[in-house]
């Protein structure tokens, strides 16, 4: 096995072009597990940890451009106010050791439906910047993942960054696991309220082949908020509306039975999480929290 260690983004892209079968390595918290379990034996690994450009985040066009190599610990410490949903999700990832190594880019690279960073990206309409020596393209996160552990990356491409709007309102994330820490999601739910745009964003994790969006729940809630003038009045959201939102979120999932939980439980818990996260977010918006 050959390990390439580019020290610049240009070198990294050149290496990927030259070795299209090479597997990139960021924090290694997914890749090394795969290697240890003998599930993968790449001939070439491209270690991206020395590429400084990947480990930076910056403001671009009023949004955040998050380098693919930024780890969870930094997302929590540095971006909690600008990307609160992603920061809450980051806090639920693994243990301190994993959060120190694991990256959002790696979570995308793995493209597991259980990746905890993905629902907040979906809920906030993140766009993924993919790069090759031949150029750069940007794809919406929902188009990035195409099946469990499969994505649209071309053999010569690397994930450069994630583009996300800065939060304009409350964001939430909630995740079910069968123990109280260090656990892979049985189901998860992310919510973004965007008051200036009067829009609602959702993301569902671990309850479908890819992270999903609960479009009908979003439209329903937007309708209620508009019709009742609640964006402006910041008035109370009816229990019925919260329940209906939960139900629609639950119905948007496409879960399976597996070792971590049953499809029925996943559907059920999504309804509860959607209702609770909405209540928390709305309370925050109303300033009562």
């Amino acid at each position: 096995m050959e390990v390439l260690q580019p020290t610049s983004w240009g070198e990294a892209l050149a290496a990927k072009e030259e070795h299209p079968g090479a597997v990139p390595l960021a924090g290694g918290t997914d890749l090394l597990v795969e290697l240890n379990f003998d599930r993968r034996r790449p001939e070439t690994i491209i270690d991206l940890t020395r590429v400084a450009e990947l480990n930076e985040w910056s403001h671009v066009n009023g949004g955040v451009r998050l380098g693919a190599g930024v780890d969870y610990t930094r997302v929590i410490a540095e971006l909690a106010s600008e990307l609160p949903g992603l920061a809450i999700a980051s806090r639920t990832v693994g243990s301190p050791q994993i959060r120190n190594r694991g990256t959002v880019g790696g979570n995308l690279g793995t493209s597991s439906p259980a990746g905890d960073a993905l629902p907040p990206l979906v809920a906030s309409g993140a766009r993924i910047e993919l790069a090759a020596t031949s150029g750069t393209r940007v794809v919406p996160v929902e188009e990035f993942c195409i099946a469990p552990k499969r994505n649209v990356l071309a053999p010569d491409e690397l994930i450069a960054a994630i583009h996300m709007p800065v939060a304009t309102g409350p964001q939430q994330f909630s995740k079910i696991g069968t123990r109280n820490a260090m656990v892979i999601a049985v189901a998860s739910f992310a919510l973004t309220l965007d008051p200036p745009a009067r829009s609602v964003g959702t993301g569902i994790g671990s309850a479908g082949p890819v992270p999903l969006r609960a479009t009908e729940a979003e439209r329903f809630l937007e309708g209620v908020l508009d019709e009742e003038g609640l964006w402006d009045s910041r008035g109370q959201l009816s229990e019925g509306a919260v329940a209906r939102f939960g139900q629609l979120a639950s119905e948007a999932s496409r879960p399976i039975d597996d070792v971590r939980g049953s499809a029925a439980y996943r559907r059920h818990s999504l309804g509860v999480m959607a209702g609770r996260t909405l209540a928390w977010a709305w309370d925050e918006y109303r300033g009562t929290l």
């Binding site: 820490a181 656990v183 049953s262």
Partner: protein
């Protein structure tokens, strides 16, 4: 033989019995410098790998090793034809192939071995072995296995043991009758150090094996038989053990590693991966238990009827003894006049099951304690009061007819946990997710939470039962170095993390009044210590070290009498000196010994036990019993089914705490393992296949799942035991599972008849099929 009847009062010595003396292995373990078996290394060593069956049941049509042999770096590919001696092994019943030849009985069964210069090459070669399997439908339902027309997995049939208790009147009736069917899942010991060891071929044609195990001498007997070597050509040294909990009682890689070393003439190391480890050791028997309890309206137990089916999996391992325990302890620590128990251990094509902490008592305790709660409910009685009313005590008769002789503080333990203060209700402000169900995953900020309280008590035998010749050996040497007396203790007791090392040191310090005690590595050049299991090692090896020390002391006093005149009984040992009680003359041990040393080896045996009658279960099968009670307090998110155990409180009689800190460690660890079975630990097996062989999906409690404990340790000395000790290790594992689940029932009102309880069960999405 102890020459002095009255124990000479030894002078106070630091770090003796009853102190939390520091363990010899604690600092290196904390610093990460402790050498575990997986760290072993020898010049020129090869790496072994195991080829395992991907099918739970299959016939082997043919085996072709030619391709595997062509992989570069490969030194050997061995099959059943290469087993030099007995082709089967097993601790109680010799039924398990060293390497399978005709039939595969479980997924992961070893079929061939490879040795190569690098683990990677060994694995590559293992992939190239060609085995032509004819897959057969696996027999996975233990109830089906005992039906007459079921396929027979072994020549002896599918029934490993049917143990019974017939006590009192089988036709008796009662005012109040309740029934229930309960299940416990297959739990894994989940030790952190996977199976590993190093075998080194010796010049005399024998073998030296360094391995993490629980009982060196039972390994040795089985190794010698299968290697076709006389026992004195097999030498085993205990390597650093990363936990055991029963999973190292059966052989795993021992014979395989030695076969490869003998064949290649090179040292061979084997080390399982975590995934392989799930296939490489036995697990806790899953159990299906149907119970019927009858009681008077006042809450006095009239009868218990129980049928317990234990899935032994493909091979017997210790199923017979697990079955005996499930039977003997089927009714709990209660006085029950009329008892009918049938417990079956059966073969299936599921993973083999055997020893795990609590050993048959765990499964039964979940069922009988669930029944006691159900009965209390039916009677409108407080569940603790019902238990206290029926509690056994010293002098009570077990359903097996055995009279409980030692301390049996059942009511006292219950009273103590009941009276402990309750933690405050409600939640910390500001909100701390770590104190809520779901933890840091942010699932509730207080919504849906209900608190529940549950109680349970359990008990279990200490040491080996049913007539086994259970003994432990220790050698103690007293000598002087640099003008100071020193002691060397040698035994084969396996330090598996429980602290039996420091216990031996503490005993020697107390008995000989000498602080400088060294423990030699555990190996087979000294006699057997028996297994580090059955909560027996402090009692048994502690007892052996104590007897050996007494013998050394007697010889020392004789020597003093010889040199100084008088009789040995005139002398006592005080602070490294021998002092005459008659004339005050004293001599230092160092001067008295000069260059000589005094060495004695002793075997310690507990009192004799007897088999349970096969028809009635009657018999004095056990040496002594350990009791523990738990109170669990849980917060349950009733909408999501997530749980936070707020507190576990326990009271346990340990007889005598030789090392109080170790005792606490055992109680916390054992309680955590029981909590794990209550809430998350399950090897999920579907059609004979393990679906979650990794720590990604086999979950064990984290620090956010295991709450702080209140621990009340009683020291009611057992008159039969050295210093009055009772085993500590297993009792906490037994009652914590039912206590936690009782608390969940209290919070949710649901039946929760299966451990572990999943979130699905708590929210009522699963109505379990009860058979």
């Amino acid at each position: 033989m102890t020459p002095t009847k009255e124990r000479t009062i030894a002078p106070p010595v630091r770090g003796g019995v009853g102190t939390s003396a520091r363990r010899q292995d604690s600092v290196p373990k904390v610093k990460g410098e402790f050498a575990y078996s997986s760290d072993l290394w020898a010049e020129g060593m090869l790496w072994g790998a195991t080829v395992r069956s991907p099918h739970p049941r299959a016939a082997i049509r043919s085996l072709d090793i030619t391709d595997a042999l062509t992989v570069s770096g490969v030194h050997a590919v061995l099959t059943h034809e290469d087993v030099p001696g007995r082709k089967l092994f097993g601790m109680e019943i010799v039924d398990q192939p060293v390497l399978a030849w005709d039939e595969i009985r479980y997924e992961g069964e070893p079929v061939a071995l490879v040795a190569a210069d690098h683990p990677e090459n060994a694995r590559r070669a293992a992939d190239r072995l060609r085995v032509d399997y004819e897959e057969l439908p696996p027999l996975v339902d233990p109830e089906r296995a005992v039906e007459p027309d079921a396929p027979q997995l072994h020549a002896s049939g599918n029934l490993i043991r049917h143990a019974r208790i017939r006590c009192g009147d089988p036709a008796v009736t009662a005012d109040v009758v309740i029934e229930g069917t309960y299940e416990t899942a297959m739990q894994d010991q989940a030790f952190l150090g996977p199976e590993s060891g190093l075998a080194v071929p010796a010049e005399d044609g024998g073998i030296d094996l360094y391995v993490a195990t629980q009982w060196l001498h039972v390994d040795l007997e089985q190794l010698a038989a299968s290697l076709g070597l006389p026992q004195d050509k097999v030498r085993i040294t205990l390597a650093g053990v990363g936990g055991a909990f029963g999973a190292r009682e059966d052989l795993s890689m021992q014979i395989h590693c030695c076969m490869l070393a003998l064949y290649t003439g090179r040292p061979v190391k084997m080390m399982y991966s975590r995934e392989e480890s799930f296939f490489g050791h036995v697990h806790r028997h899953p159990a299906r238990m149907h119970y019927e309890h009858g009681a008077t309206r006042e809450g006095e137990l009239v009868y218990v009827k129980a049928r317990i089916v234990l899935d032994g999996g493909a091979y017997a391992s210790s199923s017979t003894a697990v079955c005996a325990n499930a039977t003997a302890f089927a009714c709990g620590p209660y006085e029950v006049p009329n008892v009918q128990v049938d417990a079956l251990a059966v073969y299936t094509n599921n993973p083999p099951c055997g020893a795990m902490r609590g050993f048959g008592a765990v499964q039964a305790c979940f069922a009988y304690e669930s029944q006691m709660d159900k009965l209390a409910d039916a009677l409108g009685m407080d569940p603790v009061e019902l238990r206290m009313k029926n509690a056994m005590s010293t002098g009570s008769a077990m359903p097996t007819g055995q009279i409980v002789e030692g301390p049996a503080p059942v009511a006292e333990l219950l009273r103590r946990v009941k009276e402990m203060s309750l933690p405050p209700a409600g939640h910390d402000a500001p909100l701390d997710l770590r104190s809520l169900p779901g933890g840091v995953s942010n699932t509730t900020h207080g919504e849906g939470i209900r608190r529940g309280v549950g109680y349970a008590i359990g008990f279990k035998n200490i040491a080996f039962s049913e007539g086994s010749d259970d003994f432990a050996t220790a050698r103690v040497r007293l000598f002087a170095a640099g003008g100071e007396p020193q002691v060397e203790v040698h035994s084969a007791a396996a330090e598996v993390g429980q602290g039996v090392g420091v216990v031996q040191i503490q005993v020697a310090r107390t008995e000989l009044g000498v602080e400088r005690v060294t423990l030699l590595p555990a190996d087979t050049t000294v006699g057997s210590a028996g297994s580090s299991s059955a909560s027996r090692q402090t009692w048994m090896t502690g007892g052996a070290v104590k007897s050996a020390c007494e013998a050394v002391r007697a010889r020392l006093l004789e020597r003093a009498a010889g040199e100084l005149g008088g009789s040995p009984s005139d002398f006592s040992m005080e602070g490294g000196k021998i002092v005459s009680q008659t004339n005050g003359i004293e001599v230092s041990i160092a001067d008295l010994l000069g260059r000589d040393s005094i060495e004695e080896t002793r075997e310690y045996r507990h009192r004799k036990t007897y088999p349970m009658d096969p028809e009635t279960g009657q018999g004095d099968a056990h040496v002594a019993f350990a009791f523990a009670a738990h109170r669990a307090i849980v917060d349950v998110d009733t909408e999501l089914g997530l749980v936070r155990v707020v507190e576990l409180a326990t009271a346990q009689d340990v007889g005598k705490a030789i090392n109080p800190l170790s005792v606490e460690g055992q109680i916390e660890g054992g309680s955590a393992q029981g909590l794990g079975l209550a809430l998350m630990e399950e090897i999920q097996v579907s059609n004979g296949r393990i679906r979650n062989p990794s720590f990604t999906d086999y979950l064990i409690p984290t620090v956010l799942d295991m709450p702080p404990m209140k621990i009340d340790v009683l020291e009611l000395g057992d008159p039969e035991a050295p210093y009055g000790v009772k085993g500590v290790g297993e009792a906490p594992t037994i009652s914590s599972t039912p206590a936690v689940i009782a608390a969940l029932r209290d919070a949710t009102g649901r039946a929760l008849e299966r451990a572990p309880v999943r979130p699905e069960d708590v929210v009522g999405l699963t109505e379990r099929e009860v058979r």
